[in-house]
Symmetry: C2
Amino acid sequence: MKELFKPKSIAVIGASREPGKVGYVVLKNIIESGYKGEVYPVNPRADKILGLNAYKSILEVSSDIDLAVIVVPAQAVLDVMEECGKKGVKYAVIISAGFKEIGGEGVEREKKLIEIAKKYGVRVVGPNCLGIMDLHTPLNATFTSTPGVKGGVAFVSQSGALLSAILDWAPRVGVGFSKIVSLGNKADLNEADFLAYLGEDLETKVILLYLESIDQGRRFVEVGSTVTRKKPIILLKGGVTEAGAKAALSHTGAMAGGVTALRAALKKAGIIQVSTVSELFDMAIAFNSQPIPMGSRIGIVTNAGGGGVIVSDLLISRGLKLAELSKHTIEYLRSTLPPVASVYNPVDVIGDARADRYKIAIEALLRDPNVNALLVILTPQVVTEPEETAKVIVELSRKYPSKPILAVFIGGERVEKAIRILVENNIPVYDMPERAVAAILGLTEYSEIREYLEKALERVEIFDVDKEGALAIIEEVKKQNRRVLLEHEAKEVVKYYGIPVAPTKLAVSEERAVEIARRVGYPVVVKIASPDIIHKSDIGGVFLGLKSDEEVIEAFRTIILNAKRYMPTAMIQGVTVQKMVPKGREVIIGASKDPIFGHILMFGLGGVYTELFKDVSFRLAPLSLREAREMITETKAYALLRGFRGEPPADINAIVNVLLRVSKLVTDIPQIVEMDINPLFVYEEGVGAIAVDVRIITE
Amino acid sequence: MKELFKPKSIAVIGASREPGKVGYVVLKNIIESGYKGEVYPVNPRADKILGLNAYKSILEVSSDIDLAVIVVPAQAVLDVMEECGKKGVKYAVIISAGFKEIGGEGVEREKKLIEIAKKYGVRVVGPNCLGIMDLHTPLNATFTSTPGVKGGVAFVSQSGALLSAILDWAPRVGVGFSKIVSLGNKADLNEADFLAYLGEDLETKVILLYLESIDQGRRFVEVGSTVTRKKPIILLKGGVTEAGAKAALSHTGAMAGGVTALRAALKKAGIIQVSTVSELFDMAIAFNSQPIPMGSRIGIVTNAGGGGVIVSDLLISRGLKLAELSKHTIEYLRSTLPPVASVYNPVDVIGDARADRYKIAIEALLRDPNVNALLVILTPQVVTEPEETAKVIVELSRKYPSKPILAVFIGGERVEKAIRILVENNIPVYDMPERAVAAILGLTEYSEIREYLEKALERVEIFDVDKEGALAIIEEVKKQNRRVLLEHEAKEVVKYYGIPVAPTKLAVSEERAVEIARRVGYPVVVKIASPDIIHKSDIGGVFLGLKSDEEVIEAFRTIILNAKRYMPTAMIQGVTVQKMVPKGREVIIGASKDPIFGHILMFGLGGVYTELFKDVSFRLAPLSLREAREMITETKAYALLRGFRGEPPADINAIVNVLLRVSKLVTDIPQIVEMDINPLFVYEEGVGAIAVDVRIITE
């Protein structure tokens, strides 16, 4: 994307002489940003704009054009794009609105736009966007009125209005940008494209995203996980509650829908999700200048006891730890700080601390190997020296460059100058404790993500599966114009994937039912087999613990009768006869296909408690061994499975194995849109697990 | 407290001529705050300070003194207080440090201070505090360097440093104060005293508290619930995680300790708890000027789609609702707004909206009865009119004074003037959506609290209890130097309070055991009876389902043998024989005594799930009928009890009844520090519930 962010030449098509018009503002911004390449205003009705020669058409420009910024009315965009194509333009930023977002003719227009762009190989940003900026080039090809400050933060936003408001607001919190991208309608280039580029961009230290939709879910995750190995990505996703409410398919489907899939995807990609604009930027400020901490043990130096208390509460309630200072540090602080000071973490240098006392405490904590990151709190009191203390922080931050330092200077006028010193010297500074805590949370979360991504690579290859066998069943079902597999069919499918199932066969007659029952061995369970009957018990379609031929025959007759009585229109295939297996601990394993991110796997406690406590975990397929294990350990059910109150531990490896096989199944056969094993009976360690009921739905 | 906040005369004892000294700053602040009463500096070594005549002692002043502000060194405070007492001073604000907070001699000094104060009837603020302010008097009797702005927010803080930092910071967010109190060591006056006063204070619209400790828990709750009927109280409690970690008694004790008791207390008092300083003030700004909404359905007007999306996500994820606009409003908006605008909530007036279009949308939503509160979002875009839009908001807020309006103006320079217009006209304005959402959350929470407090008054009198009977057992146990009641004793106690129990008797011999078994009826349960053995099953001390005399005799022998073998030092009283009752749905009801707030009641699902999912609810005793019902309905277990997946509903009224009786029991007999009924078997509706095991521990 070099020709987009660092073009040698730019044409502004639709440049205007009238101040206030977008075509004027864009051209003015490009010139005023200090852009050093060639700029060609294109406007058939003007000779000169802002002192530059204007052209009737881009085709009239004799030199090559890397980037075209298009601000003509929507109706004219297609013609302009044709010309750009002919001219050999590499990138087009289409600011003009009037495309997909207005519906109807706009949708058509956008389709044609993509066709033209593809024909000529022009890559497109937008349409219906604010433009792009590269503060290092420097280039401001947007129509915002705020230039932005140079720095290491890249911001990619799907909301132009939000982007321009934030550009106006950003100087207050001292954030500097590398590149800014307004995505607009994402007709061509989308978030994944920009992530891939920004991941390699040396000027970008951290990437911020505001997205309302994700276009290529799987690619987004793949690119994301590559980038987050190198630098953090922080996402504010708009529309998370709406989406969550909409997803309401079947039981497990409802729990896995939308938001859950997103969370599983972000977990896999190592992307940090936040829920507010402040968090996005509070984290960005820290990532922009500070190193990644080696752990989550935080040290605190404060001149206000209350500040230390509030920060401790926030850190701990958000899962971080207070560093336990080394004996050496405690002794040193005790011998140097006044007797009333607190020498334990939080270190309270007390109200009359001047800069020299802050220096003693800060340096002691930076030296302490038990401290991974440092938070310095200052409240202006009678003898406090805010500026001198700020200088001490700057000095020590340079001396100990491997540990992050964040400052919280609470106050107004009395800390203003000190804050300026910190900002100018790249120390993140916040006006409130919670903002610094959000930032530290981001730093430590990223530190864990990097560690995680390095280890998570190991894959387990499951070889002993019969894909052809499973596929044959699914294709047969499709031929019969069904989407829902019958129980014995679903069980066959998972059996082909090496998942132990309670032996189950379809019987179309009483004789056949008895024959099967004898073969699998009594006692047996007999159930109605019909693609139209989902809740089998409700219509009297299930008989448990049958011990003789007579009982099986009786059950067969009653079930068929019940089915005909209560569901007269249902297509009845017969009954399934299943060997009754010993009861184990019940768990549920499911998979569902998210329209954006593909297959999501679910694990949870079986029975009513799954529904009641939502004690379930999710991961994107395919699973690594580690992810399968995590799915189990991160649920509360794990405590039960591990052996609760003297119970023997359950065979957790057997669950891991089933999870991996289900993961392989849905990955191999993507036409499965939903499946669950409910319950999976899990026995004692070494004894294994068995799928008692299996449900599979295809596309 | 009129003589504290609006004194006719003030003596500053320890006033100093040296700028920078606390005794100088305090006097200067009093003078510069515009205080109109008499001010008498007291300093034995000065004639005049800051132009006022100085006195050698307060006794030298001829007029009466309402308020003494004391800034002399700790060693001199007691003598000064004697003089204040003799002089008839009403209130003393003791800024001097060197008391309880330094331990040792400081503790002694504070004790003596309280004695002197009591002797003369002088009420004391502090010691070791920053002082007090009344912005309406006006009077600034603190040593902060920031005067503060006048308004309706009272702030009572246990951290002086935090208080002064916040005073410096407050102008940024546009908050105005009525009174400011630095509590210091709370030797005499504490948070409950100030709450009581501020509740009646007409100049105070909302009370903010920062507390690290609560001194009189029950009084705090009582005063709190009286005040919150009139105006909101918002608390930032420091040390919530520390406290939570420390509380680790028995199982239910651990769950009910510290933080849980606090939460139950705040629920009873109707106090809103926040976890950050920003939330405290973001709410305060809204309460200071806006009416309380009649519900939680929020309307949104925005010129940025992204802003509307983010706010919607935040509102919904925090339990608020988006208002569903009336048909009339939608039609009206459709006919007046441009076709691309969104006429549903959030109403998107789109990027090119000027003030007139905002006016149309805002007024339509204010008129709509489905909208309880309105949030107006503005982002500066090319044609946006921030100032004009601010004026529109001010105008409409006056026209529709019964609905709260909050503004979110995101940006920097371009919205600065508009923000000033809003602040000057008492419209709460925030720079980020999440801040406004926090404020709206406060408004709606308070609206619910007020409604709740009005209804919660109904008490249920439980008459049919035998307090004397229960007390006799507890006193007998005390005589035996035991704290833990034996099972049959505990069951007797609850039986005296009308709680159905499985009949249980103590048997000291085999013969007696058989006799009891025959009387209560087979089958029976036999358990070891020993004050030293808590986990009876672990030592083979429990036999279930015994059906004959022989089985009971055999069980008696084995249990005594097992007990002697595994717990040779345990005092064995015999065995308890209990009628085996039919299994019901298991729930747990408990009570524990918090050192600050007294008895807390607990309700939850019985069995392993209580521990695993922490699905429990708490309330402060004594319970009203409504609270007892809420304790059940707010747990997830309620879904199970109400009848899950076709099960018949359980007898919820029976649980309510047991809760009310346990509440009465611990209220009548406060020496009970811990008790639980675990399990309580609950049967089908109308069939009742029965306590199967009961544990009681006394002081």
